[in-house]
Amino acid sequence: MNDISKSKGAWEPKIIAFLCNWCSYAGADLAGVSRYQYPPSIRIVRVPCSGRVSPNLILDALRSGADGVLVSGCHPGDCHYISGNYYARRRFALLKRFLEFVGVEPDRVNFTWISASEGEQFAQVATEVTERVRKLGPATHLLKEF
């Protein structure tokens, strides 16, 4: 499947987005409610909190064939679970630097804060991330050859 999609001229990136239920997922809903349009490249996985997202899951997404990963949580201070995004912020900061260190392009793995009221921002982020990943082309480094 991947090869086919890659061989096509119109390659479209596929991006897995882990969104926290309370802010970013709601923000993504608001984008819809407000009809902000963005590219259909994002597949959203609803998680309770950005603090639920382990580096393993991010790597797994890349391994499974995602060209990009987006993890988004509540803004600092807004976490529905008090501090989940603070822990996540440390985990992600290290992971992002580390993945870049081993040669994963900086734009592959993205983290954002999007609140429940930021529908427009979500659409912007979805567009921005898609564009960044599109520029990089398909991700192959950590892709598992099944």
């Binding site: 984008a31 819809g32 597949r43 309770p48 382990s54 679970y81 008090i82």
Partner: protein, 1011 residues
């Protein structure tokens, strides 16, 4: 009074009535909900979208209606009217007549065969007569109850028995009953809540609007129906004359409002400015090209609610045009178009042509309601709204009878919902000794043990009218779902959340022995609970369920890429199926409730909330940061209706002080909060540890002091420059210095609606005008000038504006490009402002300059919001759980808000909101236990190393290390299911039930399979 009755009559099944009914029924009272039409939902169900969130009205309302319709403790009486109410508070005898439905609701399966065959077409009142329905009909597709009814005025058979009768012949359920008779119910209730709503103003009498003569002039309510997917043109937005999509639309504001000449409605209808902007925004979205040219003609733009001004700003940025001009006459043009002539502020005459003109009609009381109110002995005011007062905002003239929603004054949905909860509170206050005496309990069937079964997954794909089906090929998605592993059933539904589909789903689960269910529709954030309950009713655990969000996150965001959206929908369904396969049945956990409350802040909101709870026997800890009770109200002179604040405040304070149940902590703030709904523990700065089941945040706001910068206007520099509250304090003191003044100038919007504080402070227009009137009373010869941007005396406050003008107070408009200039010349103040009408500079010489400065959020709200894990708006006010339907709840369970920390509001709204918060808090406090999280963390002891990362990162102290085994263990009562522990664990030894790594990975992998 002897023991009161434990039941309440709610009259009117709109959003206010439904909310009041739900609040009461959920806190221990039996409710009779009387609705005159065949289904509940009221006006809100007719709306397409709601402002300022653009939520689909039916979508957000539907779960509440369904809940109401299914509630064990709500007796829904549709097609019914109240005949009489006798007796008194605590013990009313009510006669209700229920008109025949001619369809047996027990038997009707809402299959629609009857309506299909019915030969009689009649104008559909739900569509404002724009479309047709049959003589046997459903009020609307998501109607609750979802039962057909025969309209006796049009049914051929009922008019002439022997003729027609097709419905009876085709009904597969044998549900038609032509012999149905009116029934009279005698109800014995303790209290009555009137939520009779409004009727849109009928502009037929206003010939100059062209309504009734020019086909393409429609009312706003008609336009809602034209926009609505369930409306006469399936949401494709057609204009009446030729069914073409209008490309250029005008909205004319204040039709039937602020008009004492032709409409005889001097009040402002409060909601029309916002709904017009909303309609303009939505019309642009609806249009196939996205290029609707939208123009709003208005007098004052009244975007005074939370998030409204930003919505207005955005609409302007998006290119929606706003002309400050009332239009005399709409004229016909070629091709059934419409010509609108209007005057610029300087008198320039312009003319523009439109495809469609929408009249933003106001809200009025239905003449039938006026009659009912008279029959019930409820006083109405001169505008025919129920008479209430600022200090008793939901009380009618009859004891024990309360009012909420637009019946008391035109208002928007959140305000109606707030009042509904407040009215419920008033009833609870009377009836609390009889809580749980007349209620019934819900029993679900025993759940089937599905552990041993292989997955049998059912997939329900929703069209959501055209919300989804208009973009996504739902049939293709349904066909695709059939092919997924484990799927044994798939089906497409028009509205999956409609009651018939829900019932059908339950049947399907049983029939097909489904043990996992996926619904592909809107967002789980609103609809998951509804579908989960359906699973329970069908006898399987509610956690064997997933949703695929193919609307908010698909069809709505890829409107112009139907193919890609369809592929995405398939992916989302595949992901949900992959995820649901791993779902296990989970236990239904509960948390015992500490039956006491903490109220933070002792302004009018806090005092009211505390008293409202204490009155029902719940202990309250009242925490006040200052060293006296009362908050800002000490500085506040009177309500706009003229009730003086100080005596009222003293009374409140003394009642609180006298209450045995209220424990007051002055000079204290909250330092730390732990726990969650039912079981909070708070530490106060005075060292007290408070255990409480709920909390109400009512910390108020501040008045903006324009000491520096652009809005200074000599404030703090000239002793005769005051803010509104400072002038109030002089009024309270009856300052003799205010007598004999020659000229006063008020400047409105000082620090509001400006780039750094873009919201409207809502209260200042009314407050300033009331002050001007008071000054005028003291000094009849004085000249008073109000320099304003838009006068926002919404609702009945408009009368005050009118009175002010009548008394010669002069209003001069300014805008941000032409600010008033204030200077000091020879020790006296000089104000220069431009009058836009005569285009002249006006020089004023006030000896009193009043700045209607902004209400700004308090800086410490942020800290408090963090303590309670509540969100804040960009403006710095606290953010409720849902702007429309949960206006006093926080997203955090068991925490509520009231008063100015939510948004600037006048005292009547503060009182109503405080009572609403108390009512919502009562939902928890009235119970011994509340449901707790079921999706909790669980430890795999084989994998656990006991390293305690999980315990370290848990914000709820829900994970700790077992002393015996040294391994992690989870206190499910405390666990909120956030998963911080799961992500922190290197050993994969702790996971979330139904949200384990394996399941998430399955979803991720499924997403990638066929992308």
């Amino acid at each position: 009074m002897s023991t009161p009755k434990g039941s309440v009559l709610v009259v009117g099944g709109g959003i206010a009535g439904v909310q009041a009914a739900l609040d009461l029924a959920d806190s221990g009272f039996y409710v009779h909900l009387v609705e005159k039409s065949a289904a509940i939902g009221g006006s809100m169900s007719q709306l397409d979208k709601t402002f300022p969130t653009n939520d689909c009205s039916a979508c957000i309302l539907s779960p509440k209606l369904v809940e109401c319709g299914r509630h064990l403790n709500i007796n829904l009486l549709t097609l019914s009217e109240v005949l009489s109410v006798d007796g008194e508070e605590g013990d009313f005898q009510v006669r209700v007549r229920q008109n025949p439905r001619y369809v047996d609701p027990e038997k009707c399966i809402a299959c629609g065969s009857c309506a299909e065959k019915c030969p009689k077409k009649v104008p559909n009142e739900f569509d404002m007569g724009l479309g047709k329905r049959k003589a046997i009909y459903l009020r609307y597709p998501q109607a609750v109850p979802l039962k057909y009814a025969i309209d006796p005025d049009h049914c051929i058979y009922l008019k002439k028995p022997g003729r027609c009768g097709f419905c009876e012949k085709v009904c597969p359920a044998d549900a038609i009953n032509f012999k149905d008779q009116p029934k009279e119910h005698l109800l014995n209730v303790g209290s009555v809540i009137l939520a009779l709503g409004f009727k849109p103003f009928d502009p037929s009498g206003l010939d100059f609007t062209g309504y009734g003569n020019l086909k393409n002039v429609v009312t706003s309510m008609e336009f809602e129906r034209l926009l609505s997917p369930s409306g006469p043109c399936q949401g494709h937005m057609e204009r009446p004359s030729d069914h073409q999509e209008p490309k250029k639309i005008a909205w004319l504001q204040c039709v039937g409002s602020r008009d004492i000449n032709r409409a005889c409605h001097g009040y402002c209808s409060s909601v029309c400015c916002m709904y017009a902007i909303k309609q303009a925004v939505i019309a642009r979205e609806h249009s196939s090209s996205g290029a609707v040219d939208a123009t709003v003609f208005y007098m004052d733009m009244r975007t005074h609610g939370k998030g409204f001004e930003a919505y207005y700003d955005r609409a302007r940025e998006e290119g929606i045009k706003f002309h400050r001009a009332r239009v005399h006459t709409v004229s016909p043009a070629e091709n059934d178009n419409l010509k609108v002539r209007y005057a610029g502020e300087n008198g320039d005459i312009r003319e523009d042509e439109f495809d469609l003109v929408v009249l933003s009609v106001g809200l009025a009381t239905d003449p039938q309601v006026i009659k009912l109110a008279n029959d019930l002995g409820i006083e109405l005011d001169s505008d025919s709204f129920a008479r209430t007062t600022c200090l008793r905002p939901v009380e009618t003239s009859r004891n024990g009878v309360f009012v909420c929603g637009a019946l008391a004054e035109p208002k928007d949905i959140p305000q109606s919902v707030m009042e509904a909860s407040a009215a419920a509170l008033e009833a609870e206050r009377i009836l609390y000794p009889s809580r749980w005496t007349e209620t019934k309990e819900k029993h679900f069937p025993k759940e089937r043990d599905v552990h041993a079964e292989p997955p049998r997954i059912g997939v329900f794909v929703c069209s959501c009218g055209i919300n989804i089906a208009g973009v996504v090929d739902v049939q293709a998605v349904t066909d695709y779902a059939w092919k997924l592993p484990g799927v044994v059933f798939a089906q497409n539904n028009l509205f999956t959340c409609s009651q018939d589909t829900i019932n059908q789903m339950a049947e399907t689960i049983k029939r097909e022995r489904l043990n996992r269910v996926v619904v592909a529709s809107c967002t789980p954030r609103t609809h998951e609970p509804l579908f989960q309950e359906t699973l329970r009713e069908a006898g399987i655990n509610k956690y064997l369920f997933e949703m695929a969000n193919i609307r908010d996150q698909d069809s709505w965001v890829h409107q112009r890429q139907p193919e890609a959206a369809t592929e995405k929908a398939k992916d989302l369904v595949r992901m949900a199926v992959a995820k649901v396969r791993g779902d296990d049945p989970l236990p239904y956990n509960t948390v015992p409730v500490i039956k006491s409350a903490m109220v933070i802040g002792s302004g009018v909101a806090g005092l009211t909330a505390a008293l409202s709870l204490a009155d029902q026997g719940f202990p309250v800890t009242l925490v006040e940061r200052k060293d006296r009770l009362g908050g800002h109200a000490h500085k506040f002179f009177r309500t706009w209706q003229g009730q003086e604040m100080q005596p009222y405040l003293s009374e409140l304070v003394s009642m609180v002080e006298a209450s045995d149940l209220i424990d007051v902590h002055l000079g204290t703030t909250v330092q730390d909060v732990s726990g969650s709904v039912g079981q909070f523990t708070s530490i106060l700065t005075d060292g007290t540890e408070v255990k409480h089941g709920v909390a109400i945040v009512a910390v108020g706001a501040e008045s903006f002091k324009p000491r520096e910068g652009r809005w200074n206007y000599l404030y703090g520099k000239n002793p005769n420059v005051h803010t509104l509250l400072e002038l109030d304090q002089r009024f309270i003191k009856d300052d003799p210095g205010l007598k004999g003044l020659n000229q006063a100038v008020f400047i409105h919007c000082v620090g509001s609606r400006v780039p750094e504080r873009p919201y409207c402070s809502r209260v200042c227009c009314t407050h300033a005008i009331d002050q001007a009137l008071h000054l005028k009373e003291m000094n009849p010869d004085m000249d008073i000038f109000m320099l304003y941007r838009d006068i926002r005396t919404y609702g009945k406050r408009e009368h005050l504006y009118q009175e002010a003008r009548a008394k010669g107070i002069i209003f001069i408009r300014y805008d941000l490009e032409n600010l008033p200039r204030v200077s000091e010349e020879n020790g006296s103040m000089v104000v220069k402002v431009r009058d836009p009408i005569i285009d002249a500079s006006v020089t004023l010489h006030p000896d009193l300059l009043i700045l209607a400065s902004a209400v700004r959020p308090r800086d410490d709200v942020g800290g408090l919001s963090k303590l309670f894990k509540c969100a804040m708006t960009g403006d710095g006010f606290l953010l409720e759980a849902h702007m429309k339907l949960r206006p006093v709840d926080f997203a955090t369970d068991g925490v509520y808000l009231a008063g100015l920390c939510h948004y600037p509001k006048p005292v009547e709204e503060t009182i109503a909101q405080a009572k609403a918060a108390a009512s919502r808090a009562g939902l928890v406090l009235s119970r011994d236990a509340v449901p707790a999280e079921s999706i909790t963390a669980v430890v795999n002891l084989q994998k656990c190393t006991g390293c305690a990362v999980c315990a370290r990162v848990c914000a709820y102290h829900a994970v700790n290390m077992d002393e015996n085994s040294g391994k992690a263990q989870v206190d499910t009562g405390l666990c909120k299911g956030c998963g911080a522990c799961v992500a922190g664990c290197r050993s994969d030894a702790i996971t979330l039930k139904n949200l384990g790594n394996e399941q998430i990975m399955a979803a991720v992998e499924a997403a990638m399979e066929d992308f």
